[in-house]
Amino acid sequence: MRKAQRLDFAIAWTALCLTPALACAAPAPVHHVALPADPLGSPMWAYHAARLLSDAPVVFDPRVRLILPTIAENQHQFPVTVDARSIPGVQRILVYADLNPLTLAVDYRPLHAEPFLSLRIKLDQRTPVRAAVLAADGKWHVGSAWVDAAGGGCSAPPVGRVKGDWAQHLGEIRGAAWRDGTATRLRFTVRHPMDTGLVENIAAYNLETMHVRGADGVDLARMEIHGSVSEDPAFTLLLHPIKDGPLAIALRDSDGREFTATIGPQSRPTQPHD
């Protein structure tokens, strides 16, 4: 982790220092229009914006609501909720943390879904956490906040590795769907170690893709997933109303293993009787 982080900074510095001299030989991604100044003053704002947001103009927008707890109680499981429902025509939502060695957590496409997403991410240190939303106006709308966190979210082994039972539960999916206003709320958890590759002697191993499909097999939502998403990921999505038929979830990890689940459109769990 520390090594990888230094490497990340080294790449940033190299890009910064060498770009003018080697502009033709090694063109760094450049914005067509000037980036707005980062209200958080992050040392990595311009670098990550050039990598992740270079295809469209960027604006900071308070309508990208980033809901974060007041304290990073557990740097392995930091809840992030992005609500961009007041922005029309959202095509993609990126969630990333500037100073995480694995910066990008997810790239979400709410194809037939509201621009709303909850997940849990790892934090490796105090860092800006951001949501970038590509909207119908062709711009990236960004919401962000500094989050204070102790070190080690990416560089400590996951609980399942320490307990040693991760393989027995790999890919187990729990979840349900609820009616939520006019939308269908889908929540599910997946057992997966989500190894970052930054812990000694544990290779990177993480979920890479998610598809949520309706009864007719059409993709309702798609997500690209990276190793900075927490162990045993938990996602909340708001799908456009599902009238009938089950929802299908299909996940694939970096070893090519596929995990699937089927959830009824109204499958609210009940309190077990005791």
Binding site: P69, E73, V80, T81, R120, I173, R174, D180, R185, Q271
Partner: protein
């Protein structure tokens, strides 16, 4: 010539920087503060040093937990401490305060449980002065280094010189005499794996550590709620005249145990309902807190911490298996 130029430059620099000097001095970085501890008399030979009803933070130097001072009653003057704060500097300030009150040195330190706001002041004492339940010593061995790292990160020089000192004495449940005072040790659990409560027989003062919070929301990072509730039941069965909680004011009216139980019951029910209603962690941290907890400090903060502590387990229990 050179000298003159230097002088002129120095003078110019001084002039230019003069208006800046005051604000710069005012905003100079501060690496630690000074613990200003006050002892509240509780009963004959019993004092409490109240912690701030806040989160551990640089502003309070981590002094958020209550510490109790008992005066020795045998021929040698001195003090018995129950919990000793977060740092070496705190432990030294507490020892000095105890000496002023009792006229003697610290003879024994009891640590009620592993958490660093109660236990890391052990750095100010020798292992053979420090007593804890065996579970607490085991948990300190497991988590002490991590706590130390976290406390140094949050508190900087407030922690200067604080090392991990493990308890050298094991508390056995039951009656004992320490410094002439008759104490009864009760070995409980639920806030952590080992929670020590002590009853001072002479005054009827029950010192509970973090099994009881009073007008300050309970913290749950190592909690087992079923065991915690059992421990609260045990505490209600111990006759006492007043109670010193781990956090919050002294309780003379026997209401703090019930308040702690009320919070834990509400918390568990509310989190189960949140999972069943499909809320995510962030939304669960924003649910309404009942008005009866309006006077409970740190309620929202501890709710959000508890969401993180309990949510994954509750999801595994309550969400149906749908695949994989």
């Amino acid at each position: 010539m050179t000298d003159a130029r230097w002088t002129r430059r120095a003078a110019l620099f001084a002039l230019a920087s003069a208006p800046l000097a005051a604000p710069l001095m005012a905003s100079a970085e501060v690496f630690a503060g000074h613990y200003d501890l006050h002892a509240e008399p509780v009963a004959d030979g019993v004092w409490v040093v109240r912690g701030a009803d806040a989160a551990i933070g640089f502003a309070n130097g981590g002094a958020i937990a209550n510490a109790t001072i008992l005066a020795a009653t045998d021929t040698d003057k001195g003090a018995i401490l129950i919990d000793c704060g977060p740092s070496l500097a705190y432990a030294r300030a507490l020892s000095a305060l105890a000496r002023r009150l009792t006229g003697g040195p610290v003879r024994r330190v009891f640590i009620t449980h592993l958490h660093p706001d109660h236990a890391m002041g052990a750095a100010g004492f020798a292992p053979d002065q420090i007593a804890a339940l065996p579970e607490t010593t085991r948990e300190l061995g497991r988590d002490g280094t991590g706590f130390s790292d976290a406390m140094y990160r949050l508190l900087a020089d407030w922690m200067k010189g604080t090392t991990l000192v493990m308890p050298g004495l094991t508390v056995a449940p039951g009656p004992m005499v320490v410094g002439g005072r008759r104490l009864t040790a009760v070995a409980l659990a639920g806030h952590s794996d080992g929670d020590l409560a002590l009853l001072d027989e002479a005054t009827g003062t029950l010192i509970t550590g973090d099994l009881v919070f009073h007008n300050r929301a309970p913290a749950t990072p190592d909690a087992n709620l079923a065991r915690w509730r059992d421990s609260l039941t045990t505490l209600t069965q111990i006759p006492h005249r007043r109670l010193i909680p781990g956090h919050g004011p002294v309780d003379p009216t026997d209401s703090a145990i019930a308040q702690t139980r009320d919070w834990l019951d509400w918390l568990e029910g509310a989190l189960r309902t949140a999972v069943i209603d499909g809320l995510d962690m962030g939304e669960a941290g924003e649910i309404a807190i009942p008005p009866r907890f309006a006077d409970v400090a740190m309620a929202r903060y501890e709710l959000q911490r508890s969401v993180v502590h309990f949510y994954p387990r509750l999801e595994a229990e309550l969400l149906p298996r749908v695949g994989g």
